[in-house]
Amino acid sequence: MPYRVMKESLNAVIDSLSDGLLVTDGLGNIILYNQKAEALLGIKGKDALGHQVQEHIKNEEMVRLIRKTLSMNVPYHTEEICLIDFDSTRLRIHVNPVRDGTGLLIGSVTLLHDVAQISAIDKVRSNFLSMVSHQLKSPLSSTLLQTSILIDGIAGALNEKQRDLLQKIKAKTKGMTNLVNDILDVCYIEEGGYLTQIEPVYLPEILERSVDVMQPQIQDKNISLRISIEDSLPLINGNKSSMEAMFINLISNAIKYTPSGGQIAMEVLKKGQDILIKVSDTGIGIESKDIPHIYDKFYRVRSEMTKNISGTGLGLSIVKGAVEVHHGSIYVESEVGKGTTFTVLLPVG
């Protein structure tokens, strides 16, 4: 087949994609893109060809990811995925390095996927879920209080059996309350509620507030908490509520899975272009077979040691969600019987 015909067929093929496609060379010059990319990015015709990415792509996040992929120190196979809001469209972008036959990095390829369609359906489902959860909060709150009143004898003396049953009711009601709150946190992150409240955030302040909230639980288990925060940490452009949810859930997990008298250490420091947050505990640790699943919604480790630990199974999915909306990353190291360390990296600015 003559080259020209092949090239035209190829163009026809990429213009038929329902996703946007954009290719750069190793220096960040745009060398190819399809019609969908033109439409999504607001580029006029082939104007952008031969130009640097930042000249024609008006989204800093996307440019940053392309630049990152083109930098020499990316792993051989890597993929940057990110949700960006561009004008009134929400796009999921995938950026991969392009390598030649010898493995040399020669460019980048970006796929732009419009998630609006899916989002609409998810939004309705998500909205309903948060509406229902909100409706459940008040009745659960009153029920918990009424049960506490009965248990404390304020409405009259109780016999042993009555108190026992009421304690069980109270425990279950508390469990439901936690579940409702966690569901609301998940919805908040997935619905993009955080997008309406992005501002400069000083992480140490959020950390301290979260520690305050968790104090009763820390003291109940006689756990010693050590916090080390670097001076003059830069601000992060982000969402306070989801950062708080992230800290609270990390600390909550550390407390739950650490026996009484154990230790938790938290560090916040600057590392390169990121802020690094570390939460370590001297807890029971996570078995390697469970590690791939710990961020799954409702996943709970089922073992002799964890059978008395209550929880919704949503904590780490909330943490991961919060980290991801800030374009950060999270990883875990753990040794059974010794403890677990979660490390979060959040890009600054």
Partner: protein, 134 residues
Amino acid sequence: MSGKNILLVDDDADFVEAVKLILESKSYDVMVACNGREGLKKVETEDPGLIILDVMMPEMDGYEVCAKLKADPKYRHIPILLLTGVGEAIPTSKYTKEMGMRIEADDYVPKPIEPIELVDRVENLFRISMSKNP
């Protein structure tokens, strides 16, 4: 100062009934308002010694009522206990928790709350108030 006389402002009837039970068992007198507007009116007519305000109420939320009261020299001295939602990401009112803290409520207590905790906070606020206004 009007002694052990508490105004409870909350739109949740069950919660109100429960809190009343708890506080009355400790010999407090409890008056109730079911929304912000009614609450402000009752502050004027009943002269409470302490006000417990729920944050989540329709029309005028707890932060707004608190801000109005603290801005008024006639009522600024009355201790206010704000019942807030804690540990959940969804902002529960158009005021944020930070603004609430800057609005100078005298204490914050998360819902749900244990009866003992509530009584402790109330007694504490009365104690502080008495020492400030003997």
